[in-house]
Amino acid sequence: MTTRVLPDFERRVHDALTAEQPSLRPLEDLITDGCAAALHLETERARLDRRREALLDRMGQDPGAAREALELSERGREDQDDLDRVRELLRELMHLRARTRLRQFLAQS
């Protein structure tokens, strides 16, 4: 996630935030992209947590289990950092969406 989706999403959010007059539909698509990224990260983190718990149960018998559990913890932390960043960007997009809707409403009335 860190090396692929997040930088691309950050760039697209930046483009949306700096656009002169963003349109609602592309903005909502971008928000849904962010929601999908967040969902993916959370699902991956949950999977890592389950795997790590299984390894912790085996630590007494398997010398490699502790090392792998540590690696999974590190990956889980990276996913959490990415997730926090995606949620932060989503909040900004939601504010932009609210402003865009208001602008459209005022333009129509």
Partner: protein, 217 residues
């Protein structure tokens, strides 16, 4: 002791990445995803064929909108519970879907645990309605009801009818209500009919919204 069967879920969402994310998340949480559709009409056809426990339905779909797809599913297969997906709660489309019979809504950006809990709750017969949205739905019902200068409300119901409404809002069907109140099925049907008439609403979901709005549940 055997495990409870997995809750069967159908996904209707045109955004492929999000749909795949939901699929992955739900499977990881132990749900059985029985199908996916990216268009409203396909979602209706699949729902009527597969009869899942829950349809997770996006609102903004190409072709047939989510609210209309919801109405068709609920009309043909009332046992199938529809849970709406929305970006935010302030949309006309969300109110349309709830009035069409959706059992509640989930906000797309909600944490995984909330999404999974929401699907489980609706599968168990609960309603997922925030107070503000419930108010908006009822306002729409009220504006749509002919001539009523005074808004219909819980105050018009007898004590027994309130008991019935409370159980309706908790997602109980008529047989379950009869069991809990220890009365006959015909009596329950009579009470339900009175509740709908006195509240000026057309169906159980709208009655449940009134119950939430007036603080009965």
């Amino acid at each position: 002791m055997s495990a409870a069967p997995a809750i069967r879920v159908l996904l209707v969402e045109d955004h492929e990445l999000y749909r795949q994310g939901l699929d992955e998340m739900l499977r990881g949480e132990g749900f059985a995803v029985v199908g996916q559709a990216g268009r409203g009409a396909d979602g209706v056809a699949l729902a009527l064929r597969a009869r899942p426990d829950v349809v997770v339905m996006d609102l903004n779909l190409p072709g047939l909108p989510g609210a209309e797809a919801t109405r068709r599913i609920v009309a043909e297969a009332p046992e199938v519970r529809v849970l709406v997906l929305t970006i935010s709660t302030g949309s006309v489309e969300l109110l349309d879907a709830l009035l069409a019979g959706a059992r509640g809504y989930l906000v797309k950006g909600a944490p995984l645990a909330d999404l999974a809990r929401g699907v489980r709750a609706v599968a168990a017969g609960e309603l997922l309605l925030g107070r503000t949205v419930a108010d908006e739905v009822l306002e729409r019902v009220r504006r749509g009801s002919p001539g009523g200068a005074r808004p219909p409300g819980i105050g018009d119901l007898s004590e027994r009818e309130r008991d019935v409404l409370r159980l309706m809002a908790a997602g109980r069907d008529n047989t379950e209500i009869a069991g809990e109140l220890q009365v006959g099925l015909t009596t329950v049907k009579h009470h339900v009919s009175n509740v709908l008439e006195k509240l000026g609403v057309e169906n159980r979901i709208q009655a449940a919204v009134a119950a939430v709005r007036d603080g009965l549940v």
